[in-house]
């Protein structure tokens, strides 16, 4: 490999950083080291260089020196927020984005915003500022770093609530370490120069002990040092400085549902950071994974999310053998270390635990086992929908019923069978309970059966005493068998339930897929999406799509036409950032709706909003996964409709282009040919008038007239076509006599039909038609013109008309060469001509297109069929006649009066 070129990935990262604002973090080991002061000093420096600086939020805590520094700066007023009756001051993010300075000062990066703000955390605000291309100076104490959270707690005994993902610090463009020796800091504390919040006063003595401060200082220094290392490597990569770069180690962390998963992740993160290694957190889904409780599933996804926040990679592996799956993946990803939790003591299991097997089979990998209990409980943040299990007492009553039933059966068969056989009836009862109600009721049933069996059926009866050793054995075996059966049956039940759940999910997705595939238009797709999502979550859903100004509701179920301001803000945020926002997420959680981005590989298409029913604030993790899948499918479906529209636009454009060239060639040919004849004849007359006899002169003038008429017809056709195309040709339907219309058309054909006989056969029942007589005359003229053009001279052209109850059928039949079946539709296209191999037919290719346009404007149809006995062509027109002809006839006969005077 050639290492002389800069690494593309490294360059890409730099490029991304360039459009972004730059983040500089002033990092301190503890409060009071002077971070804010240092930040303000640096800002003053930049201001002297002429940089436009705004103080977004700066906590001076009343320190005079610090306030003095702030003096010359443009300080944005804080935003007043009401929460639970109290007033809070928060940084005004929108004001900053609107003001758009070059640099913003944002103190206390780890701050948690008051509920009701756009983001939960201030660092999210900062990310938005950076994304807008504004530089940020910010401050941070090392104890707020997520990965150090538990260590800090161990060392100082203070639980830090406000944490910050490590990725924020590592993505900072610059870190300035503000260092103060512990003794100095303690001195400042005693001088009252260190701000301590009220509620922390009690802990302050412990926290500011020299030991603590030294440990924190070491952490901060180490972080800054690692950072320098990383920057050095980055620099070498981007500038193609040849190695040696340290080979990247990769740490693989295996987690499962056990409580210490989060701790394992943190440990791995620290280890990875110290070694500059990449790290991957994996969990293995086995065939029994779906039997895990909701709480366990939550804990796993919580740990995976934490890993992502800390900058780690996560992977969900599938396989029945955990150990092999993990080891395969480790090999594939070239991992060097595997981190696992300590094995739980398993008293009832025979065989080795996963951890033990990993040790045995790991081969080249270093396996680390992390011990201890993780006392951090998942934050019981929001209410989840309760799973409706039957209450215990019903299950227990059912168990009691089954056992009594078995006892009854026992008495029935007691006469013929030995006591041991009766135990089978009880086993059956236990099995039924296990299948229906689960493990616990089954165990209860086993024990109850054991006692019932003992009491009723073993000698001596009606006592719990057992006289026969054989019976003791029977009883013991019965109990063992009952417990095993309950265990197995209940497991079977769990699996059935899980399978059913997964089948439901699959069916749901399948249904959805089917619905959105069947939907053709965008509206259909949107409706299918909102309807399906709403029924899936038993709540409301809507889809917002961008229109000129911003997002607007495109569909809702139940229909919704207005979003409150907070929800609209969350929707906008989801749209611009392509991430989850709103209720139940970490961004704008006070919105009434939860918004998911609808995006595909081609980019975002819109936003899906969901609102759960009354008893749940947010979807369960299961529903969330389903929703995400649905959102993906919906986005693809929406994309499909827009693609269809794109293809349609392209098709129309191609068609237009074809028409344009056809029109040009038609114009140049059909306009020029008669002009050539006219000019030729006219100039002949002008120049050689004296030399010509009367017959020749007459012939030339006849040519001029014929060709001029041809030109006139062509121009008329073009005009009609243009009007049809522009939709300007609206039929002015009125009662008209078909005979009149056809007669007028025949008359206009005049000389064109001199070689043909035109026969008109109109049934007297078709007397009156409600059509536009002028337009229909044009139709018949074009049809007769065509027939005379294509049919050989001397043949008959027939116009035939009959009435059926709802239609009038009119045919124009000729005895020409006919129209090939494959062209029977195309002849109605503009500029299409049936190719007969000679240029005899000087058609314009417009006649039939005009006929179709006019007939369709009348609500009728026109098609080409073979003529009589398959010879020639027949153009068949159907015109709807829904008008009340009979009523009309009655009125007219009522109008008739006796014979004239």
């Amino acid at each position: 490999m050639n290492d002389d070129r800069p690494s593309p990935d490294a360059l890409l990262a730099v490029a991304q950083r360039e459009s972004h604002g730059r983040l500089k973090i002033f990092l301190g080991a503890a409060p009071g080291v002077g971070k804010t002061y240092a930040m303000l000093q640096a800002a003053a420096e930049r201001r002297r260089e002429g940089v436009d600086i705004v103080a977004g939020v700066v906590e001076t805590h009343g320190r005079r020196e610090t306030e003095a520094q702030l003096g010359g700066l443009d300080v944005l007023p804080a935003r007043q927020m009401e929460y639970r009756g109290k007033s809070f001051r928060e940084m005004d993010l929108d004001a900053i984005l609107a003001r758009h300075p070059q640099l913003v000062l944002v103190d206390e990066l780890a701050h948690t915003n008051v509920p009701g703000s756009r983001h939960l955390k201030r660092w999210q605000d900062v990310e938005e500022i950076l994304a807008a291309g504004i530089d940020v100076f910010s401050t941070l104490n090392i104890q707020h770093l997520e990965s150090l959270n538990d260590i800090v707690e161990q060392i100082s005994g203070v639980k830090v609530r406000e944490t910050l993902p490590d990725s924020v610090l590592s993505s900072a463009d610059e870190i300035a370490l503000i260092d103060l020796p512990p003794q100095e800091l303690i001195k400042r504390l005693h001088e009252g120069k260190v701000y301590v919040p009220e509620q922390a006063k009690r802990a302050v003595g412990n926290f500011f002990s020299p030991g603590n401060l030294t440990a924190l200082r070491e952490m901060a220094l180490r972080h800054a040092a690692e950072r320098v290392d990383a920057q050095m490597v980055d620099y070498m990569r981007t500038h193609a400085i040849p190695g040696p770069w340290p080979t990247r180690e990769r740490i693989l962390v295996c987690i499962d549902e056990r409580v210490e998963a989060a701790k394992l992740v943190r440990v791995a993160k620290r280890a990875a950071d110290r070694r500059g290694a990449a790290w991957v957190v994996v969990t293995v889904e086995t065939s029994t994974s779906h039997t895990l409780t909701e709480a366990d599933k939550d804990r796993i996804s919580e740990a995976l999310r934490l890993a992502q926040q800390l900058g780690g990679e996560t992977a969900l592996l599938q396989g029945d053998d955990v150990v092999t799956t993990v080891l395969d993946y480790a090999r594939e990803r070239n991992a060097t270390q595997i981190v696992v939790g300590r094995a739980r003591p398993r008293r009832w299991r025979i065989g080795k635990s996963v951890t033990e097997r990993l040790f045995a089979e790991s081969g080249d990998f270093n396996v680390f086992v992390v011990g201890g209990q993780d006392d951090e409980k998942p934050v019981p943040s929001l209410r989840r929908p309760k799973i409706k299990e039957k209450p215990d007492w019903i299950n227990l009553a059912f168990a009691a019923l089954c056992v009594s039933g078995a006892t009854g059966i026992g008495f029935l068969i007691d006469r013929w069978l030995p006591a041991a056989s009766i135990s089978v009836a009880f086993l059956l009862a236990v099995m039924v309970v296990a299948m229906r109600s689960g493990l616990r009721p089954a165990i209860v049933a086993s024990v109850a059966s054991f006692f019932a069996f003992n009491f009723f059926f073993t000698e001596p009866r009606w006592t719990f005493a057992v006289s026969d050793t054989k019976n003791i054995l029977t009883l013991v075996f019965f109990l063992i068998a009952a417990v095993i059966v309950s265990n197995m049956a209940s497991r079977l039940r769990a699996q059935i339930l899980a399978t059913r759940e997964s089948a439901r999910r699959t069916t749901n997705l399948y249904d959805f897929g089917r619905k959105v595939t069947a939907a053709v238009t965008l509206d259909d797709v949107l409706w299918a999406v909102v309807h399906h999502v709403a029924t899936t979550i038993h709540g409301k859903s809507l889809v917002l799509l961008p229109d000129g100004a911003g997002l607007s509701i495109a569909a809702g179920y139940p229909p919704e036409d207005q979003l409150d301001d907070r929800s609209a803000a969350a929707a906008d945020w989801t749209w611009t950032h392509g991430k989850l926002a709103g209720r139940g997420s970490t961004t704008l959680p006070t919105s009434l709706w939860l918004f998911l981005p609808l995006k595909t590989a081609r980019g975002p298409f819109g936003v899906l909003g969901v609102q759960m029913s009354e008893d749940a604030d947010m979807p369960s993790p299961e529903q969330m996964r389903l929703l995400e899948t649905l959102a993906d499918q919906a986005a693809v479906a929406i994309e499909r409709t827009t693609l269809v529209a794109d293809i349609e636009t392209a098709r129309v454009a191609t068609e237009r282009e074809r028409l344009r060239s056809a029109l040009l060639s038609s114009l140049s040919h059909d306009l020029r040919t008669p002009l050539v004849s006219i000019m030729g004849a006219a100039s002949s007359l002008q120049n050689y008038d004296d030399m010509m006899d009367h017959a020749n002169r007459h012939e030339l003038t006849q040519t001029i007239q014929d060709e001029a008429e041809r030109l006139n017809r062509f121009v008329q056709n073009l005009l009609d076509m243009t009007k049809l195309g522009a939709g300007a040709l609206k039929p002015r339907a009125d009662w008209a006599d078909l005979n009149d219309i056809v007669g007028a058309a025949v008359e206009r054909t005049g000389r064109l039909a001199r070689d043909h006989t035109i026969k008109v056969d109109i049934d007297p029942g078709v007397l009156l038609l409600c059509v536009d007589p002028v337009l229909m005359e044009q139709v018949f003229f074009n049809l007769l013109d065509n027939a005379c053009k294509y049919a050989p001279p001397g043949t008959v052209v027939k116009v035939w008309a009959r009435r059926t109850p709802n239609y009038v059928t009119i045919e124009v039949i000729d005895q020409g060469p006919g129209i090939p079946p494959e062209a029977s539709e195309k002849v109605f296209d503009m500029f299409y001509r049936v190719d007969h191999g000679d240029s005899k037919a000087a058609g314009t290719g417009l006649g039939l297109a005009i006929c179709r346009g006019i007939v369709e404007a009348h609500g009728g149809t026109i098609k080409a069929e073979p003529g009589l006995n398959g010879a020639g062509a027949a153009i068949v027109i159907h015109l709807p006649q829904s008008h009340d002809i009979d009523g009309l006839a009655a009125r007219i006969s009522a109008d008739a009066e006796p014979e004239g005077t």
Binding site: D720, A736, D737, N739, A744, P773, E897, E899, G900, T901
Partner: protein, 227 residues
């Protein structure tokens, strides 16, 4: 004194060929290239016939008809393009006597000119109108075909008599309906179609290809006397 025809058209080429052919047929031609000139010439020169293009640069030809009709009943033939049936109908309703569809041949124009002039000459002496084999005696209310009397209903007679009162002259649907059926029936063209058909059955040699009562599609009917 020869017959004077006023041609109002803004196209010099059209005026030129009309002048040449009309003069060749013995008419005297006065030309006007816009509405103002035309109205002025119609007043001062007292022409016997007006040929008026509806598309004039300064004023709508329809207004010219109205302006001329205010003081004179000189026959007016309008020139109009096809598919502008409403224009023709409006022109006829405003008092024009006939129309010619552009583009047109000289022969057609001459026929119309002659027909209109003849009608004017025959004015006051048209009690008996002859149209081919059909004789219509307006005074005695008798219709004969090849000498045989044809029986007509009252409406049929009213219709035929109105057409015969202005032979070779297009009468719009509205004009006929108002005259024969009364002002309330101005839009009932279906009646008209039915009675025209009945008349044709009784009078025409081939009712499917009428030569006496001719349809002007979208405009109206005329009784053709033949030349």
């Amino acid at each position: 004194m020869s017959t004077r025809i006023l041609v109002i058209d803004d196209e010099p080429q059209i005026r030129k060929f009309m002048r040449i052919s009309l003069t060749a047929n013995g008419y005297e031609v006065i030309e006007a290239e816009n509405a103002a000139q035309g109205i002025e010439a119609a007043r001062s020169q007292q022409p016997d016939l007006l040929v008026l293009d509806l598309g004039l640069p300064d004023l709508d030809g329809q207004e010219v008809i109205s302006a001329v009709r205010e003081r004179s009943d000189v026959p007016i033939i309008v020139l109009s393009v096809r598919a502008h049936e409403l224009d023709k109908v409006e022109a006829l309703d405003r008092g024009a006597n006939d129309y010619i569809v552009k583009p047109f041949g000289v022969a057609e124009m001459m026929a119309r000119v002659r027909a209109v002039l003849r009608q004017r000459a025959a004015k006051g002496n048209n009690d008996i109108v002859a149209a081919g084999p059909v004789l219509i005696d307006l005074g005695r209310r008798i219709v004969t075909r090849n000498g045989d009397e044809v029986h007509l209903s009252k409406r049929e007679w009213g219709l035929l008599a109105f057409l015969a009162s202005q032979p070779d002259h297009v009468l719009t649907h509205k004009q006929i309906l108002k005259e024969v059926w009364g002002p309330a029936h101005g839009e009932d063209t279906a009646y008209l179609r039915v009675y025209v058909n009945q008349l044709r059955q009784k009078l025409e040699a081939d009712p499917a290809a009428p030569t006496l009562i001719v349809t002007d599609a979208g405009v109206g009917y005329r009784l053709r006397r033949g030349e």
